[in-house]
Structure formats: C-alpha cells, structure tokens
C-alpha cells in the first residue's frame, strides 16, 4: 500500500535522517528498508529520493562515500554528518510536537 503522497513528502526528510542515524546506507538500500519497515506504506520513488539525497548533501546534512564491493558495482553510501544529527534532533522534536498536537486536536474533535 502506497501512503498518501503529501504526508510522505512532509516526513521523508525525517525518515531519511533517522534511517542514516543507525548506519550508512546507499539509495537502493534506503528504499528497500523504508518499504519493508513500513509494511509497504513508504514506497519512495528513485526519481524523488536521489534529488532529495543530493539536496541534503548540498546542505551539509549528509556526506557520501564510494565503497567497493566484492563482485558487485561500487555503492555510494550516505553518512549522517554532525550537522545532520542536529537536524535530526530538531526534526524529531518538531515531529513529537506535531503528532502530539495533531492527536490532541483529533481527540478533542472526536464526537
């Protein structure tokens, strides 16, 4: 099941940052990971992911390094920079506030 594109668009940066906080990953791996962990909700398209990754790299949140692989093509692994970690903390905090506010608002308006 593919999630609502507007909702996904608003959270994809946070998701990428959170994903890379655990370990460095390459693009295809991120797509698979997000899809598997979200039970298919987050199905990021390559055409959207790579521009986003490059943009975040330009902004200094990510850093990419090529890694050779045995018998496979080289992969471009993305790492979280210290600036990226700060951004993640900020976005997580914002996310907490948002979800709490949304939950409160939704519960208050429940009939």
């Amino acid at each position: 099941m593919r999630g609502d594109s507007q909702l996904v668009k608003g959270t994809v940066r946070l998701l990428v940052l959170r994903l890379l906080h655990r370990e460095p990953m390459y693009g295809y791996q991120m797509i698979q990971h997000l899809r598997d962990r979200s039970e298919g909700y987050f199905q990021l398209g390559e055409g959207a992911l790579y521009p986003l990754l490059h943009e975040m790299e330009e902004e200094g949140f990510l850093q990419a390094r090529w890694q050779q692989q045995e018998g496979k093509p080289s992969r471009r692994y993305y790492h979280l920079t210290s600036r990226g970690r700060r951004e993640l903390a900020r976005r997580l905090q914002e996310w907490e506030r948002f979800t709490r506010a949304a939950r409160l608002a939704l519960e208050a308006s429940r009939v």
């Binding site: 295809y28 790579y50 521009p51």
Partner: protein, 553 residues
Amino acid sequence: MSELDPYLDRLRAALDVAPRRADEICAEARAHLEGKAADLEARGLHREQAAREAMQAFGDPVRLAVSLTQANRRHRAASALRTFLALGLAFGIMAASVAFLFEIEGPHPAVRWVRAHLPFDRTLADMILLSLLSAPALVFAGAVGGRRTWWIAAAPPVLWALAYLIAGIVGGGLEAGAGAVAATLALGGGGLFALAAFVGSRAPRRGAGRTLSWTVFGGYALFLVWNALRFEVRDAVAQWAALATAGGGLCIIALMLYRDSRPGRLQVWAAGSLCAAALSPLVVLAFIAGFANHVVPRWLATWRTAALVEIGLGLAGLLAFLGRRVKVAGRLPLPAALAIPAAAVGLGLPAHSYIVAPARDEACAVTMRQLLTALSLYAADYDGRLLPDPQRPPSEEAEDALLVASYLPYTRTPDLWHCPRQPRLRSPEAGRRWHQSDHIRYAGLSNLYYRTYYYAWPERLLPPRQFRGRSLLLDLALADYHLLDSSSGEQGVPPHGRGAQSYRNYGYLDGHVESLTREVWSSRIEEEGQAGLRGTWGKPRTSAEPARPGEAR
C-alpha cells in the same frame, strides 16, 4: 549491463553540472539500476525486462536530470560560469580602476591626489591588479572541481608566494614583489587552464574543444610575452617559471579530476594536451627568453627551483593518475620522457652561468669604458669638472634627469647607461621619455654619483685628471642595493657569478676598467682614505665653482 547505457546517456546529456559530478551521478544511478535489475532477475524476470522495469522506476531521465541539476546547485556548470563572468566583470572593473590610477599620463589633479593618497605604490598596484584579475579564474576552478580541487589548485602559487616572501624577508624584501606577481600570474594561469579543460570537455565536437583549449593556452602565452616586453625581464622569467609550475601541476590535477571518465573521452584528451603543452615547452621557452634577455646568473636559481618543483608535481601527479588505471611500471617511459628534458634544462643552467655570464661582464666593461670617455669629454668642456651639485645628493628623479640630460650629448644614447648584464628594462617610456623613466634609476646614476663623489672627489668638482686611478663607476649601479630605488624592488646590477667570489666592474678616471671583488675594492678605498683623500661630500659649493648646464655661469 548494456541495456542501461541509452538511459544513462540521456541522463548524462541532460545534466547541467560539472563533468565530474555528472559522472558521479551517473555511476550512482547505474549502481542502483544494476542492483535493482539483479533483484528483479532473481525473482524470475527476464534480464531485459528486469532492466526495463528498473529504468521505469527511475522515471523519465530528462525530468530526473532536471531535478538532480537543481539539487546539485554548487556543481551547476551554468551557475559556475555565471559566477565566473560576474566576478570577472567586477574584478576587471576594479583592476581597471587601479590600472587607470597608475597608468594614465598627465592625470587630472583629482586622480593625482588619489594616487598620492593610496596606501600602495605602483608595484603593489600591479600585484593587486593581477590578483584581482586572477581571482575569478580560481573561483571558477573551485566551482568546477569542488573544494578540494580549489585547495590543490591554489597550493602551488600560494607556496610560490610564501617562498618568495620568506626569501624577501631573509634577503631584505628584494624579491617579494616579483614573487607575488609571479604567484598571482600563476593563479590566473591555473584558473585559465582549468577553464580551458572544462570548456574543452563540454564542447560538442572534438575539434572545437581542442581549438578552444589551444586558444586559451596561446592567449595566455601571448599575455606573458607581452609582460616580458613590458616589464623587466627577470620578472617575466619568474612569471614563466611560475606559470610552468602551476600550469603543469594544475593540468595534472585536471587529469586526475577526470579520472572517472571513460578512456578516449574528450575531457581526458583536452586535459592531456594541456598537460603536455605546459610541462615542457614553457620551461624551454622560459629558458630561451631568459637567455635572449641576458638574465644574470643570480636568477638562475629561480629556474632550477621552478624546474624541480614542476618535475616533482608532474611526476607525482602522473604517477597518481596512471596508478589508478595501470601498473606504474608499464608507463614509466612517459614520466621518464618528461624528466629528461627537464633534467637537461637543469643541467644546462649552471653551464649557462659559467659560459655566458663572463661574456656579458666583458660587454659591461666595454660599455663602461665608453661612458668614461663620454664623461671625460664633458669634463673637458666644463673646466674639467663633472656634475653633480654637491649640496644635494642627486637621488631624486628630476636630478637624475638633469644629470643624464647634461651628459646626453656626450653619451649620445641612454643605452650607454645600461650594463648588458643588468636585466633590461623595457618600459613603455624607455627610449622615448628616457630622461623621466626608470631607465635612469636602474642605471644607478644616483648611487654612481653618491659614491663617486664621496670616494673620488675629496675636493668636490676637481678635474678628473687629477685623480687618476680613482674608482669612478661601479658597474653603473653600485653594490649598495639599498641606495637604489628600493620601492620598485629593483637591485641594480648583480655581481658576476664566478664560483664563490662575486666580482664587479670598477671604472677609473683614467679610462680603464677592472673587475674586482668587493673586498679588494674596499681595501683600496681604505688605503685612499688613509691617504687623506676621502669624503667631503656635502660641503657647500663655492662661488668659484662652475655652474651646471642651464645655470648662469
């Protein structure tokens, strides 16, 4: 996977970013596509179908390229070019303003006032001008190649500048000006080379890229030739050497930048051709320029340094580059082929100093004898007396001009005041407005008279024939460099290079010239001093003394 090639080629063509970044993006996309296609293939899809589905997931390559170009703002070629042009325009205007202030003749009083109150002189203005002009090129090199490239590109000229500054501090600040000019020129040259390689790599046709690269290269070479004609030669030599060093090193860097390109691609060719162009012919050209313009042995050390630095940079860069593709041992003939002419130049320099320099020394002595004859003729016409006015040491330009103007009918040409061993000044004014130009300063006339008067005219304007054997002229520019116009960074005539000893020509009032070490000359002066013949310089002129030309007698 060959099925992916058309897709990736379209992506590559639509990307508007620096070549290296585009290569990187395509490599990443290829890795992704191959990984996904392999997964799909493992699930039972046919190879071609798996590749097709993987590409479909990526979407339209042109749209993807547009998104990726926008995401890679720093690497966008168009923005780099715009930045380059904008900076070039801004710095060009600033440089033109500086040039205007110092180059125009008969300036408006306001300009004169500004010039007088600027915190730098003409030499420094030249350096600022060159820095301003070269800065955009360096910025562009950084924009194209990334931050690391910028640092690597900036390193050779910065090291040059540092080396010169240290040499300048140790040696009394004499070489700092030329070094800084050379370094800034090298910066400009390096940036232009990077620009040429970049534009060449993006040219639609191979021939166009090649033509453009060579045009830029030729243009810069012409620029340096122009400088060689305009400025003093030893500065030009330093510029050539610095260019060869930085240009060669930067071309190697350009090669390394494009190491991810497929063999045979235009950018590899463009960078390679520039590299080959920069590595050896410039050194040879520089050597020829130096030889033709009577560069003194003193400056040959600069040449050796330049050659060594260049060889080191070139070899290191080449080995690093070649090591990525093939075994170094397989390509050793190439570095060796580059090293042999460079080593030949290095070996030829000392030979040059020992063979050519003595011939020039003799030429200086001949010039000096002619000058002595001219001065004797002048003295014969003025009651056996020579200029200058003893009350005022003739250190000002106006005084120099008057002196030489007085002697000109006897010397007939200002060239007589120039020692062939001294680097030749070719300022626009030389020969045209010689009496107001630096020509006279470099000839060391002020020092000539300062010293001459002090040591050879104890009774001031006495006839030369009474002082036969006294030292009159010292290589036309005396050994005391600091007495020359130090603000221009010039040093007068360097001593002759004959082994560990340094000799100078000393002209005597009886018309003969001797080549002596400074120690020998000093001891002779000392003897004269003990004999009571020294120094009455500064003593007021008496009314009995003859007037100078132009004064009422």
